[in-house]
Symmetry: C3
């Protein structure tokens, strides 16, 4: 990995921000596997990660305003930081809602969705130091795209299963609301990759 | 406040558009406090404000196409006008759905959400004449961000309360649909601030 | 119609992508009119169209990366292709969910929504070859905007009807989920038109 000296603090900050996604998806997986009474503590830890992410985004914005030279367009760095932050928000919301709604059990398919989200976090984090050679990141955004499709497919099957005749509508509504955040997080990973692709098109 | 003569009509038009947000949030607050049979008339007045907003957006687009000089990038002015219009749409939708679904009562937390929305409208309107000195608007977008977080926090508690065991699922579904528009409106205020921040980053 | 030789393959590829929208809305209409047991086969055909659309989007991205000259900003062409693809996704999702949830009947208003979507597809497809003279496309995006408002209006009435007292909440939830995709597709057509308008503002 070769990092150009110009604006290398942005690659470092974005790398830190993306590393938070790995921690957060890991905590969310832990939460879905924990007993209901243990969930609140894990959600609290995830919330701290989300706060750390907010601080990083803020630092990136301040750096952008005080740097004469940036590796890419200022707005693209700003957008990228904001999109990474969006993913973190959905993960945090999923945890918060699961606790708040006192969700009984997570529906079948949850494990699969979390495997997709953990993998998306992993390759997103791996791609950030590589931004300096953005043209070589095609395998990253292709896989994120496939993961998003996979999450979507699983999510629909989760809902179809929830909607079984005789199900309790109120319970369905609550569960759907929580599971939706998983799907939105997968979408949000794709939006991160979209910005990376936009930068690659500009640089090509 | 210093307005440069170049493109000052855009500041004026955007200021008028944002002033509509103050009127609209005020009407929405009035609607949520009114008796059910009085709601339709108030929703009608809000809908007229929304129409006036559409006309302003159209005027901004026409001006953009006929002006040689614009204070910022044409696309940023266009996006800003579109985002202001989005807020108005959600406020109008909230009022329309409340009438259409014959909502019985607004859930606890509604008053708090409206306080947040009215404040967001206020500071958004105040920020528009200041666009000429966009670098000084940081306090505005920081507060909008905080207000969006507050709206989000309240919204989740509103839902958790709605989802109480024994609640009528159909009533919950209807109420959730209306309350969601409040949350989307708070998001949309943040998106307005995002565009202002994008402009500030470019101008810095 | 006059097509400049420079970058004319992009107009052709975008025209093909938009033609898929006409096929897809037609198939979706067919599905909503078919007997439940015939729906799966039609959804399968729609899914093939969606795949063909993915391939086209991919070809556009590859062309963008290998072309020295493009008719508009690279990012705008990329965004336009992505927004056309979004519409296709919602149409495909609507069909998939209708099958997956074993929807009994489509609610009143469905026919009207499909008329709106088919018309939006038609004028979007017609607008693409005209991108070379983007300044003359105002009638297109004005009508798409009106169609989106119409879809929104009908969608709300569909929901209000679904939410009738005594309705089965689980059935309402399922049907709402499917109908929402129709509304999102209408929104997505408007987002396509927004990008066209952005290009027009830049070129003016």
């Amino acid at each position: 990995m070769r990092i150009t000296p110009r604006g290398s603090q942005f690659f470092r900050l974005l790398t830190d921000a993306a590393a938070n996604l790995v921690t957060a998806t890991g905590l969310l997986r832990e939460l879905t596997e924990a007993a209901p009474q243990e969930r609140e503590a894990i959600a609290g830890r995830l919330h701290e990660v989300e706060h750390a992410g907010d601080d990083l985004t803020h630092t990136i914005m301040v750096e952008l305003n005080s740097s004469f030279v940036t590796p890419f367009d200022r707005e693209d760095i700003q957008t990228l930081a904001a999109r990474v932050d969006d993913v973190l928000d959905y993960l945090d919301t999923a945890a918060d809602l699961a606790v708040l709604y006192r969700l009984d059990t997570f529906p079948p398919g949850t494990e699969l969705l979390l495997r997709v989200l953990c993998r998306a976090a992993e390759i997103t984090a791996e791609s950030m130091p590589g931004l300096a050679k953005v043209g070589e990141l095609a395998p990253y955004w292709i896989e994120v795209n496939e993961l998003e499709n996979e999450a979507d497919r699983v999510y629909r099957r989760v809902l179809a299963h929830l909607f079984q005749p005789g199900a309790d509508a109120l319970e369905v509504l609550k569960t759907k609301e929580v599971m939706e955040q998983f799907e939105l997080a997968a979408d949000a990973f794709e939006h991160v990759a979209d910005v990376v692709q936009t930068i690659a098109v500009k640089e090509s």
